[in-house]
Structure formats: C-alpha cells, structure tokens
C-alpha cells in the first residue's frame, strides 16, 4: 500500500469523522424533534453547544482528583482513536493494524472504566450510582459486542476490520444467516452502549433514572464539551463499525482515489438513514426498567452466540 496515500486517507478520515460526529448527533435530535411535531433546534446546534461550553469557565468540585480532570481528554483520545481505526471511507489506514475488533472493544472498555471512575471521584450519590449502572450495562454489552464481531470475523477468517471490509465489501453479495443474528445483536448493543432508549434516556431530567448523565453531572465547560464530543464520536464509531461489518458497500479500496467521493456520498446516506432510524426507535418505545436491561443485553449476547453457532453448523 502506498504509504503517502495511506497517511492522507488516515488524516482525511480522522478529521472528517471528528467534524461530522456532532452533526450526526444534531441530525438524530432533529429527527426526534420532527417525530414529536416540534420544529427542532436544527442540525448545527451541537456545534453551538460545544463552542459555548469551550468558552465557559470550568467549575470543579473541591475534592476532585487529577483523574477527574484527565478523564475527558482520555475519553476523547480513546474515541478519536476508535474512529481513526474503523474503515469509514477507505480501507487503507496506517492506524488500522494498531487494533483489531477485539482491541477496539477493549478501547471502548477503557473509556468506560475511566468515565465511571471519574463519576465516582467526587463522591456524590449520583456519580457512584451512575458508575454502577454504567458498569452493569457495560459488562453485559461488552461480551455481546465481542461475540457479534467474532461472528463477523469468522466469515472473513480475520478480526482485523480492514480485512473484514475488504472480504465482505468486494465480493458477490451473499446473505449469511449468522450475520443476520449478529446484526440484530449489534443493534441492541449499539443502543445500550450509547445510552439510548430503551436502556437509557439521553434527554432525561431525573437524576434517579440516569445512567450516563449521572456520571457527568459534575462536569462543566470544556471538560463537558470534550465528553459530549466524545459521546457523539462514540455513537458515530459504533454506527460506522456497524456499516463496516454489515453494509460495507461503497467503502473505497486501498489508495482508490476515484472511489473516495462515492465512499463519502455512501457514508453520508448511510449515516442519515441510521440517524433517522435511531430517532424513530427512540420515539416508538419507552425506556425499560433498569433490571430489564440485563435481559435485553442477555438476549443480544445469546443472539450473537447463536449467530456464531449457526456459522459453525451451517456455513462451514
């Protein structure tokens, strides 16, 4: 692979995803507003919010430790690395070999552990409560995620996303039953991991029901901005992972400059569709009881494992 073009692709993708992540969030919120008969804040609102937050003076609890201050940056770093690894536009990414899907899951776990620790740092009841729930969701979502990715990796005999995309994207279209299972499981994990309904309610105003929000109640100004941005990056990362595995069409091959615009267009279309779908899901269903969440994610886990078994029993 031509190194120069690789680096160009890498930089291009990292910057692009970094910039469109808030737009993604804005789009989801806009769709949700429309479905609630509201005119909505417009897709650019997240940028305004970030801009404002960076401008504000941070407020920090007296007993906040360095870990608390470092976490937003670590979080941001993890998520940016994640979107740098997932082949979004093209498969020629110098960073891609740094982490295969397993390492990717590990990366998300790292981020989750740090944000939970930060939630417990100040020692308020909501922070600890949020950390507990977050870890509860996390420890269930993580294996489910791994199983989904394994199923995908079994078909291409590789856990490296680039290889997966290359094998799946550029071969004649085949429907694998195992992938169907995996796709459903992945969707469930996506909802859980990104604190969306039915697991968590991103727009809740009730401390007692919060999961993700509760951990970041103490954050303000630039720290909050980074966390919000990281959250939108995470959402985008998950959605693009989903694309890479389940609908990799349009992603350009290594160093394929002509494919780039097509890839970009395809990406935008896919993201728009995904955002609208997410908003629709969130409008249709209510948040489930906290102890239904294990059932929900347990189902995801079983579906994924089932997918893997079907692969072994039917597809080999």
């Amino acid at each position: 692979m031509n190194v120069a073009s690789g680096i160009v692709f890498q930089v291009l993708q990292s910057v692009l995803v970094l910039l469109i992540a808030p737009l993604m969030l804005g789009w989801v919120n806009q769709c949700r507003a429309w479905l609630q008969n509201k005119s909505g804040a417009g897709v650019w609102q997240p940028y305004h919010v970030l801009h404002k937050l960076f401008h504000k003076d941070a407020v920090l609890a007296h007993n906040a430790s360095p870990l608390f201050r470092a976490t937003p940056y670590i979080l941001f770093g993890c998520m940016w690395l994640a979107v740098g690894i997932v082949p979004v536009l093209a498969t020629s990414l110098p960073f891609a070999p740094a982490a295969d899907v397993v390492a990717l899951v590990g990366l998300f776990a790292l981020a989750r552990v740090f944000v939970s620790l930060a939630g417990m740092d100040v020692g308020t009841s909501f922070g600890t409560l949020g950390a507990r729930r977050e870890m509860m969701i996390g420890f269930l979502a993580e294996p489910a995620m791994l199983m989904t990715l394994f199923t995908a990796s079994l078909i291409s005999q590789s856990t490296s996303l680039v290889t997966i995309v290359d094998t799946l994207a550029h071969r004649e279209f085949v429907i694998y039953p195992s992938m169907a299972f995996a796709a459903v499981a992945f969707l469930m994990v996506l909802l859980a991991e990104n604190a969306r309904i039915p697991i968590d309610n991103p727009s809740t105003h009730l401390e007692l029901t919060m999961i993700h929000e509760a951990m970041i109640l103490e954050y303000s100004a630039r720290h909050l901005a980074l966390i919000e941005w990281a959250a939108s990056l995470k959402l985008t990362a998950y959605i693009t992972i989903g694309f890479a595995i389940f609908m990799p069409w349009g992603i350009a091959r290594a160093g394929d400059w002509v494919g780039l615009p097509i890839a970009l267009a395809a990406l935008m279309l896919k993201l728009a569709a995904a955002g609208a779908g997410l908003a629709l899901l969130e409008t249709l269903s209510a948040k489930m009881r906290i102890f239904r969440a294990p059932e929900f994610l347990g189902t995801a886990f079983l579906l994924a494992t089932l997918g893997m078994l079907t692969h072994f029993l039917l597809e080999i």
Partner: protein, 670 residues
C-alpha cells in the same frame, strides 16, 4: 571465562541456597530488626533479580541438569533447568524481587520475634518454590512441594492468635495435601512400577490404555487443588487474605503458578501425546473457574478476599489457554496449540505481576489505614497518591484493558479460540467460542469489579473516620510496587519480546512454535498468526491517545482559556452531604447479585416499609461449601468416630501421613 563454564542450573541452585542462608541469618539476627528489614530482605530481592536473569538466560540456553550431593542414600536429588523451568524461574524471580523490596518496608513494625521466624519461612518458601521448578525427580519434587506448602502454611498463620487465620491455615493445608496425594499417585501411575523416579524415566514410560487418562486426571486435580481451581478453590480466599500482604502477593502471584508449572510439566512433558478430550476437560473447568471466581469477587467487600477470588478467576483464564492448547495439539493443530499455550503462559506471567502489585497495594492500604473493608475506605488517592497510581496500573491490567499486559494475554487467548474453525469435530468447534464468550464475560466483570474497588477505595470521600490521616507508603514499599507497575507496562507495551521467549518454551516443550510470518512482523506489531488475520500494537495505541490528549489540551488552552473555579460538589442544594451518600461495595455488587442470584447462597433481611428503625442484613456464601465440603466434613466426622486415633486434626499428623506414603511408595519402587 570462569563464568562461561557456569551452567544456568548451577546458578539457580546456588541462588536458592543463598535464599535459605538469608533466611537463617534472619532467624539468627532477630535481635536486630533494622538489619533484617534493611539488609536481609533487600539482599533477598537482589537474589530474586539474579534468579530472574538466570531464568531468562536458561530459556535461551540449552537444557542443563545436575545431580545434587544431597538426598537419601542412593536416592540423589536430580535437578534440571530447561526453557519451561527457566520461564517460571523468571516469573518467580521477577515477582519476588518487587515483593521482597516491599517487604523490606512492610515488616518494619513487626515485633522482632515474629520477624525472625517470618524471615526464615519467607525465604525458605521462596527457595522451595525455586526447587520445585528445577526438580527433576518425583522425590525432590514432592519434598520441595511439601516444604513449600509447609512454609507457606506457617506464613499464613503468622497472626496465629486469630481464630479465622488458624482455620484458614487448616483448610489450606488439608486441601493442599489432598492435592499432594493426587500428584503422588500420578507419579506412581507414570512410574508404572519399573525404572526410577527421575522425570527422565517417567517421561520414557509409555502408558497403555486408560492409564494415561488416569494419570492426567490425577495430575489435573492434584495441581488444580493447589492452583485453586473450581471446586477445590475454597481454601484460597481463606488462606491468601490471612497471610501478611507480601506473602499473599507471593502465594497468589507465584505459588499458584508452581501448580500451573507442575500441570504443564506433567501433562505436556511427562505424559506426552495429549488427547483433545483432556483439553476439553481443562477448558471447561477453566471457564467455570474464571466465571465463578469473578462473580464471587464482585460479592466481596474485604479487599484481600476480593483479590484472592480474582486469583481463582485468573487461574481459570490460564487453564482456558492451556486447555485450548491441549485441544489443538490433541487434534493435530500444533501451531494453533502453540499460540494457545503461549497465551496461557503469558497470562501466567501477567497475572503473577499484576496480582502481586495489587496485593502489595492492598498491603499498603492495610498498613496505613488498618482497613480491609472497602465499605470503610474512600478518598485514599488524596492521601497516598503514589500507591493510588500503582494500584490503578494494576487494576487496569487485571481488567484486561489495553494497552496493559492483562489485555495482551486475553487477546492472545481470543485469537487462539478463533482458530477453532480448523477443528474437525463440530461439537468442539462450537464449544470453543462459547468458552471464549465466558472469557469475555468474566473479563468485563473484572472491569466492573475493579471500578468498584478503585472507585470505592481510592476515590470519593473518606468513609472511615480515622484518627490519623492515612500515610503514603514508605520508600521500600513504593519501590516494590513501582517495579511491578513498570513490569505491567513493559509486558503490555512490548509483548513481542516476551512472546518470543515463550515461543522458545513452546518449541522446547511441544516442538512447534508460532508461524514464521507471525514472528516476522516486527517489535511494534503483535500479529500471532499473520498481519492480515489480526494485529495489535499497544505502542501506537498509547501514543495516539497520549498525542490526542496533549493536542486537545493545548488547543483548548490556545483557542479558548483555562479558567477554573473550585466549588462544592453539586448536592441538589442540600448542604449536608456525608460520606455515607456514595455507593458501598455491596451496593456496587447488587446488580450482579440480582442477575446471577442462582450462583450464590444469599441470606438477607429487608426491613418492612413502616419499620421505625429499619435494619438491613445480608450474607452471600459459596455454594460449594454446602454442596461438597460439608458432606465430606460430616463423612470424615463419621469416620473419625472409628479411626479417631488417626484423626488428630493436627497438621504434623497430616504431614506425617503424606511423607509416610511417599517413602512407602519409593521403598516399594526399589
């Protein structure tokens, strides 16, 4: 020139003897505690370092063996140092270096009499472990095995005035000897009644029919008992916390690994021609062990007990690796087998390092606050920042988070399990991924558990009103933890080197190593099979995150500002916030209690709604006690009615039994 003549084995023996010497010096010099803590332990640490170097050297060097001028008449001790022993010596030396440094600071306030004995037992313990690793005949192996058990027993019961500690010690020794008997019988079977008891002979002996399987089962459960494998784990959470923290670190970090060593030595080396059914057995027991271990760890609020249960879990993960190796080798896939074996051994090393570190951290906390109960800790990061940092490294490592070492070995295990499609039998093929799922689950649960530990012990507000502010650990102690923390980082960031070494072990042991392309990929990229299939680069990982960290920090400062105001934590406008308003350890475990309720034996009393003084009590117990051990206990009681003469319940007697059996077998063999 003189040195070049020196064989690794000689170095190893010498160093172990020096250890014993140091121990006796310690006993002699118990009048001068400063001397013991200031000189003896550091010296022991240096010996450890030397031993580690020897081990590393031995992995590369050709196998060297010797016959000791000691032992019974015409039953000399054979010792041998091959790559496998070398690897474990490296582990022993590397971990005990940090632990001895820590001990130098930790034991400063122990009263002289205890200290003297403790020093002796401590170093004898180390030496006997070293000998276990280099023993080359069943006789020496058993003797050192027993002395290892005995010395560690005395260490466990150092605070012998506490009833629980004595009970812990008793259970420990009991199960240790059930295990020892298993091992003994295994040697007996391998010996098959002819030849002598050198491993060479045992290796040569070919077993017909089911005898091989019998030998395997005996070895598996014999060593499993020592390793704390389900369902023989119950002694572990009792014994390890009871010991002084450095000793806990050694027991969890190193002693369990001698059991792994024995298992690998006997199954891969002595028995040979492995069957995949055996592998499956190991695999399933490993999976069960890891899951149960972590579930029970989540229920604990005693920090050291919690860590002990995590040892159970990690032994499970190691067994998964070894089991996978056996499955692959047994079904004629040596390369995949090598990968799995390397994963298992690498995790053995990693667990030794980070578990040692965590136990030392727990020791530091215990020393400065006198607390083991998480529900009373909190906010320690503000009093002991260094310890907090080292403990964080250990916690991230054990939670299998990149870019630290725990993740590497789990990653390798996953990669190994993804070789499953090559397997012939579709049943095994689909069982392996399920085990991988269990591994993933227990990995995630570990993460949760250590968020609980770290968040509750080090973060938040201090729950326990201590008279004096908790003090930061002393220099020696910090040095010990720092060493192990660095080891965690090094093993995590540059796994390729160590994997290269372990690859040699696998080559020496099974005759196959990793594929050539896997080794070709360079120090930066870890690609166990091939770059196309899977790759991972911790360094890039760390660098990118660090770079983004720094960059964002600077950019935010540059384009905006760094203004900051300190204020009270947000309290819903309700000023009277107390430290009682944060999750307790039990609260943090509650979701798990709820979800995995069947796994536990829970008794709880929930107050009525209209209760004026509501009180809540609950206890979570290990089912195995009721299921397995109590029946046995009743049975033994019933027996003891008849053979009361034998059943004195005194340790010496049990030792006597096992030695008698040993001697008897040997004599019978002559």
């Amino acid at each position: 020139m003189e040195f070049s003549a020196l064989q690794p084995i000689e170095a190893a023996v010498t160093l172990s003897v020096i250890w014993i010497g140091l121990g006796t010096i310690g006993l002699a010099g118990m009048r001068a505690p400063r001397f013991i803590t200031g000189v003896v332990f550091p010296a022991g640490a240096l010996v450890s370092l030397a031993l580690a170097v020897t081990g590393l050297w031995a992995i590369g060097a050709p196998t060297s063996s010797a016959i000791l001028p000691a032992g019974l008449p015409d039953l000399p001790f054979h010792v041998r140092l091959d790559a496998l022993s070398g690897f474990f010596l490296l582990l022993l030396g590397g971990v005990s270096f940090g632990v001895s440094l820590f001990a130098a600071g930790y034991f400063r306030d122990t009263e002289p009499a205890t200290l003297g004995l403790l020093t002796l037992q401590y170093h004898v313990f180390l030496a006997s472990m070293a000998f276990v690793l280099i023993a080359d005949d069943a006789y020496l192996f058993m003797v050192t095995w027993e002395s290892m058990a005995l010395s560690s027993y005395f260490l466990v019961t150092t605070e012998h005035h506490s009833e629980t500690n004595r009970r812990a010690g008793f259970i420990y020794l009991l199960i240790a000897h059930i295990g020892a008997l298993g091992i003994l019988l295994c040697f007996g079977v391998l010996h098959g009644g002819h030849g002598d008891y050198t491993f060479a002979a045992l290796r040569a002996a070919d077993l017909k029919g089911y005898w091989a399987t019998v030998a395997f089962l005996l070895a598996f459960f014999g060593f499993g008992a020592k390793a704390g494998m389900l369902p023989l784990h119950v002694w572990l959470p009792e014994a390890h916390p009871a010991a002084p923290s450095p000793v806990s670190a050694l027991m969890s970090g190193v002693m369990l690994k001698t059991a792994i060593y024995g298992m690998v030595r006997v199954i891969f080396d002595l028995i040979g021609n492995i069957r995949w059914e055996w592998g499956l057995t190991v695999l399933l027991f490993g999976a069960a062990t890891s899951l149960f271990g972590v579930l029970f760890a989540l229920m604990q609020h005693d920090l050291k007990r919690l860590l002990a249960y995590h040892s159970v879990e990690n032994i499970g993960i190691i067994l998964i690796g070894i089991g996978l190796a056996m499955v692959f080798i047994g079904s004629g896939l040596p390369v995949a087998g090598a990968l799995a074996l390397i994963a298992g051994l690498y995790h053995t090393l990693n667990h030794a390092v980070f578990k040692g570190l965590l136990f030392l951290g727990a020791g530091a906390i215990l020393k400065s606050t006198g607390l083991r109960n998480l529900n009373e800790m909190g906010g320690l990061i503000r009093y002991m920042p260094h310890t907090a940092l080292y403990f964080l490294v250990g916690a991230l490592a054990i939670s299998a988070l990149p870019p630290l070492n725990g993740f590497v070995s789990e990653w390798l295990t996953f990669q190994a399990s993804l070789q499953a499609p090559q397997l012939a039998s579709s049943v095994v093929r689909s069982l392996v991924p399920i085990v991988a799922a269990v591994l993933a689950l227990s990995g995630a649960l570990t993460g949760m558990c250590f968020v609980k530990v770290y968040g509750i012990a080090f973060l938040g507000q201090h729950r326990h009103e201590v008279a004096v502010k908790p003090r930061e650990a002393s220099g020696w102690e910090r040095a010990g933890m720092l060493w192990l923390a660095i080891a965690c980082l090094a093993l995590g960031l540059l796994p390729v080197f160590m994997i290269g070494e372990i690859n040699k072990v696998s080559l020496a042991l099974t005759g196959t190593g990793l594929s050539s392309e896997a080794l070709a990929s360079g120090w930066l990229w870890l690609a166990p099979t091939s770059g196309v299939q899977a790759s991972y680069s911790p360094v890039v990982f760390l660098l990118v995150i660090a770079a983004v960290f720094g960059l964002t920090f600077l950019l935010v400062r540059h384009f905006y500002h760094g203004r900051l105001r300190r204020a009270d934590p947000w309290d819903c406008g309700f000023p009277a916030q107390t430290s009682r308003m944060q999750d307790s350890a039990d609260a943090f475990g509650q979701p798990i209690r709820q979800i995995f309720a069947p796994a536990f034996l829970i008794q709880r009393e929930i107050p009525r709604a209209d209760d004026p003084q509501p009180v809540f009590t609950q206890s979570v117990k290990d089912r195995h006690w009721r299921a397995i051990y109590l029946p046995i206990a009743y049975f033994t009681e019933f027996l003891s009615g008849h053979v009361g003469k034998l059943q004195q319940g005194r340790i010496s007697v049990y030792l006597l039994y096992s030695f008698v059996t040993l001697i008897a077998l040997l004599v019978f063999a002559q």
